[in-house]
């Protein structure tokens, strides 16, 4: 499981304040904390506090990479901010995200190619989040075809079939699971798959339980990556256990401890 830590997001008060005051303390603290917990990437989202400008994204990337040697997932809809982040990013960046809309694909995929980055493709277009698996998969395959046409390796694409909260859109989760399977079967080579996991439990009780149950179910149908709360120890234990049961890791008695290393 590729873990993308979700915590550096201006939607959280401490990060929002930090961005507004240009104070790297909270950002760097969470960068270290998430990497120590096993994150492979750190999502960076400016959030609602200030304008999502190129300057802010550039600053965020620099502040994070000054503190940890890890790739950043540039979480923005502003193409100029994306490029500003890519310019200063060290190593392979991830772009979060592009949709199946032609104008978005044409604006963003050349950047992915130019900067040798990875990219998250949301299985949707301007008509919004699809209701069923088939439409999600169709949108995903449009992105797959465009990524291929731009000469980007398929392993650098992460398809996100978009999960909605179970308390308001309960019929979506089975469609998302179905779509993960379909994408993996239809494309050869297949892209990776990713979910913004915490979305499934938004405003629910038992958020942790819902998140980790959904995670294990999604892993069983081929999920490769998740944007998630990287410091949720019970979640990490569930992932470690699922990796063993799916025969992705070799069992040993210390498998939980080993996974956290």
């Amino acid at each position: 499981m590729i873990i993308i830590g979700e915590r550096i997001n201006g939607m959280f008060n401490d990060i929002g304040e930090a961005i507004k005051n240009q104070d790297p303390t909270a950002i760097q603290k969470w960068a270290v904390k998430q990497i120590e917990a096993g994150s492979h990437y750190l999502d960076a989202n400016v959030g609602p506090a200030v304008e999502d400008s190129p300057e802010v994204m550039k600053w965020l990337v620099e502040v994070i990479q000054d503190e940890v040697d890890a790739p950043v997932c540039l979480d923005t809809t502003n193409v100029d901010a994306m490029e500003a982040g890519l310019e200063v990013h060290k190593g392979t960046a991830m772009i979060n995200s592009v949709t199946a809309e032609p104008s978005k694909l044409e604006a963003i995929l050349p950047l992915v190619k130019e900067y040798d980055a990875e990219v998250i493709g949301l299985a949707m277009d301007k008509s919004g989040v699809p209701k069923d698996a088939a439409t999600r998969t169709a949108k995903a395959m449009e992105i797959v075809a465009n990524v291929d046409a731009h000469g980007i390796p398929m392993e650098d694409l992460y398809i996100d079939p978009l999960i909605l909260p179970v308390n308001v859109a309960q019929d979506h989760a089975p469609e998302v699971l179905e779509s993960i399977q379909q994408v993996k079967k239809l494309a050869d080579p297949a892209p990776k798959t990713v979910l913004g996991l915490s979305n499934v439990s938004q405003n629910c009780t038992n958020m942790g339980l819902i998140n980790r149950t959904f995670m294990v179910m999604a892993m069983a149908v081929g999920l490769d990556a998740a944007i998630m709360e990287a410091n949720d120890q019970e979640m990490l234990d569930s992932i470690a256990t699922a990796e063993i049961i799916l025969n992705n890791d070799v069992y040993c008695d210390s498998f939980l401890q080993q996974f956290r290393k």
Binding site: V250, S254, Q257
Partner: protein, 322 residues
């Protein structure tokens, strides 16, 4: 139209382990041995790097062996009452590595003291220039005392000391860390325990490049295929980047082959099996050459002819065919 070779892409690498230390490195060896480092399955050099060839080690016992088969007596009988003379003869035969097994320390046998054993190791180190493996008598409690004394007496020589096991590793691992040696992690034909032991050892502070896995070999005809498949799975896990299974592997082919019935049955007892002289050598050769293919990096052997057979096979297989 040219056929394109389908190549496997691996993400992992076997740890590179050095045995022995020259004067510059704090020891007294005239040569050292390096194993591991590969990024592909054995001998598939067109799929990755294979920087070091598998190494044949000659086994020496520190007391005169009892009841050995005639071909072994013929090969070593003139020296085998003296481990120093025996080790020297191994070096003359072309050994790059010598495995000294301290059987005389066994409480059920001579029960020699740790100090005597340590002296034997020092004497052998003085007599030969190649690096040494030092093995206990397989009595856990006694091995802890003996191997600790050996590690101390041979400080800086970077011996390969064995063996640690899942329920007995702290003393030997501690001594190896303090006195700068490499160690063998032994598991009972069980990849899960092999991994667990490596986790325990690295948690204790042993470096990944100071461990060699002994997954326990069974001889041809006595479960070789089971050992083979465990070894193969260990190697596949290493190449899939499981760091806790990425260490090089040692296989005790001589000891296992020569304790079975086939090499020990005299020609006149079972003439249809052919000459005992060749039979034993072939039994050992086949046991060792089979596990070369499943990733064994060090083959510890008994008969000089079997050792040479395997050595020559390794040389052929290591020829560049990328």
């Amino acid at each position: 139209m040219a056929v394109e070779m389908l190549k496997e892409k691996w993400t992992g690498q076997v740890a590179e382990v050095v045995i022995g230390a020259t004067e510059e490195e704090g020891g007294t060896r005239t040569s050292t041995v390096t194993v591991g480092g590969e990024t592909a399955l054995p001998f598939l050099d067109f799929e990755g790097e294979i920087p070091n060839k598998p190494v044949v080690a000659y086994e020496v016992l520190d007391e005169e062996p009892e009841g050995w088969a005639e071909p072994l007596v013929e090969a070593w009988g003139d020296v085998y009452s003296d481990p120093v003379a025996w080790a020297k003869k191994c070096e003359e035969e072309g050994a790059e590595l010598i495995a000294l097994r301290l059987v005389s320390t066994n409480p059920a046998g001579q029960d020699r003291s740790p100090e005597e054993a340590a002296q034997t190791v020092k004497d052998v180190l003085d007599a030969v220039g190649v690096p040494l493996m030092v093995l206990g008598c397989e009595d856990a409690e006694k091995d802890n005392e003996v191997l600790k004394a050996v590690a101390e007496a041979a400080e800086g020589e970077n011996l390969l000391i064995g063996a640690t096991e899942e329920d007995n590793y702290k003393t030997i691992a501690g001594a190896c860390m303090i006195h700068d040696h490499t160690l063998i992690a032994q598991s009972p034909v069980d990849m899960n325990i092999a991994k667990q032991l490596n986790i325990l050892l690295t948690d204790l502070g042993v470096k990944e490049n100071k461990i060699v896995i002994d997954p326990l070999l069974s001889s041809l005809g006595y479960g070789l295929e089971y050992s083979y498949s465990v070894m193969e799975r260990v190697r596949l896990s290493a190449l899939r980047d499981d760091k806790m299974l990425s260490m090089p592997v040692v296989a005790f082919a001589g000891k296992e082959a020569w304790r079975t019935k086939e090499p020990n049955t005299p020609t006149e007892e079972n003439p249809q099996w052919g000459e005992q002289e060749n039979r034993g050598v072939m039994w050992e050769t086949l046991t060792a050459s089979t596990v070369l293919q499943s990733g064994a990096n060090i083959l510890v052997m008994y008969h000089p002819q079997a050792a040479k057979n395997v050595q020559s096979l390794v040389d052929d297989l290591m020829e560049d065919n990328s």
